[in-house]
Subunit: 311 residues, 2 copies
């Protein structure tokens, strides 16, 4: 948190950073050196990812409250730890803040704090600077004894998805038409939940590949199939959806932050009891050349876009 | 590297990210999952920091080449690892890129790669998105058996500074007057070198507190004095300077990325032989209340600004 915010004038940057750190309280109690110092549990690996949310590119100011924007950016970044079945170790928010956003900065910081607290982790560093667009770049650190990767799916595995899909794309579509999204879709867009505990349960129960849904189920299942060299067939009829979304819309909806996992067989009822969240078998990994296929109403669906990884 | 660059259109973001990864070659060979997986040497601590460079706030396009901008942003972030005497483990660049910068993105990436290669480390992840200002948010990861902090200075210690100061502020002053900076000042601004190996040498030889100079020698020495609860007196006459800078200008010049260390006594000649870089004793830690004082030509200098940490 030592960067100079030239545009705010001398001293002002420290005042703002101090305000934020005070606001975060216990969540940010270790901040203050050039870098954070952390310990990784013996025998475990460090897992790290960086993820940015930028005004205009990822969200518009009128769609969400500042607190929701802070939550969503942080939850999206933490979702990358969930995709690896890692336990969170710390979060570093790097904020680029236009002058017009300064009055909303406390609420934005509260949203970041909410997501950090909900994940049971803390803020270990970060950075702040002035810019014309609000940009929230979040680095997340985690640890895992055996991180789940994308490349572990094998013929015979089932593919499972957590939660219900389609909410974020329905919400964006409504806003773009000048309408208000239905409450369930809005909640899924404004308040995605990184599936951190769920992912570790899945890893303990036999999952051997995972990815989170940021580019849409079809896009991310294709990434997983490509990385694993696997022939994946999805049954879109079985996809649990939100707010009346159709299965194809739900399968293309991005920024869901649910998980796709490949595993020999999972006890979905036990998962649902534990987390009060659906875990649904939606496909299989078959013998065959690396590819992604999908069926709907018993027919093969033509898939376009997002599959250049196979070309 | 999985974020959606909405403004660039479907598929385009993957093309650009693939181009960058191809350009980085061996430096980025591990990228491709939701998060990077790294090992910390047994018994060592993880050291992590995030640092952003934003167009207009930190640099202007006409001042530096895109390759220099990439180098400088990365070197500045790595300097936080040097301040902790940590060995680098990996770098995650998060780039926000306006359309007008896309043609310069390969050169910018080369500059990032140059700095990563010079530090003997690699690119383990990152993110890219569209924005109106170029923003380069760099997260750096390192490890150290006993990271150097700001709070270890004790009465009786000497204060030392690496290198020669004043170049960056002289360069910015020249540009702001419409002039061309002298070559030495320009080089110090465009091509700062994170003192990574130097810092580990200093830690091995007895340094017990360190900070890098991002806010200027006076500002950062004040941070160190405040964190250590130490009474520090600097002798500005002894400050090695660049390009004819006066000692007060050099002591206020920010974004130097040299190190200040506190140590009982260091063999400056041995350091200079090893690194071909000055290491200069410029002050002492005395018994007394936490404060920073400075003398010039035998007189006490009035210090204003940057010292609110004591208030």
């Amino acid at each position: 948190m030592s960067s100079l915010i030239t545009a705010l004038g001398p001293g002002r940057e420290f005042d703002i950073i101090r305000e934020l750190i005070a606001r975060w309280g216990e969540l940010a109690s270790g901040i203050g050196d050039d870098a954070a110092v952390l310990a990784i549990p013996a025998g475990e690996r460090l897992v790290v990812s960086a993820d940015s949310s930028v005004e205009h590119a990822h969200f518009r100011r009128g769609w969400l409250t500042p607190r929701e924007i802070g939550w969503r950016a942080t939850a999206a970044a933490l979702s990358d730890l969930a995709a690896m079945a890692a336990a969170p170790l710390g979060v570093l928010p790097s904020l680029s803040v236009p002058g017009s956003w300064l009055p909303d900065l406390p609420a934005l910081a509260d949203g970041i704090g909410d997501a950090v607290r909900a994940a049971g982790t803390c803020i270990v560093g970060g950075d702040m600077t002035a810019a014309r667009d609000l940009s929230i770049a979040i680095t997340v650190l985690g640890h895992a004894p055996a991180p789940l990767r994308r490349d572990g799916a094998r013929a015979g595995d089932q593919l499972y998805v957590t939660g219900r899909l389609g909410g974020p794309s329905a919400a964006v579509r409504a806003w773009e038409r000048g309408q208000t999204p239905d409450p369930e879709s809005l909640a899924r867009f404004a308040h995605p939940v990184p599936r951190l505990r769920e992912a570790r349960w899945l890893a303990r129960h036999g999952a051997r590949a995972a990815i989170d849904i940021s580019d849409g189920l079809l896009g991310d299942a294709a990434h997983l199939a490509a990385a694993s060299g696997a022939h994946v067939v999805l049954r879109l009829d079985e996809l649990p959806t939100v707010g009346g979304a159709g299965p194809l819309d739900a399968a293309r909806s991005g920024e869901e932050y649910e998980l796709i996992v490949a595993a020999p067989a999972l006890d979905t009822a036990a998962f649902e009891r534990e987390f009060n969240l659906p875990l649904t078998a939606i496909g299989v990994v078959e013998q065959g050349a690396p590819a992604l296929h999908a069926t709907l109403h018993g027919e093969r669906v033509a898939l376009e876009g997002g599959f250049s990884h196979f070309s």
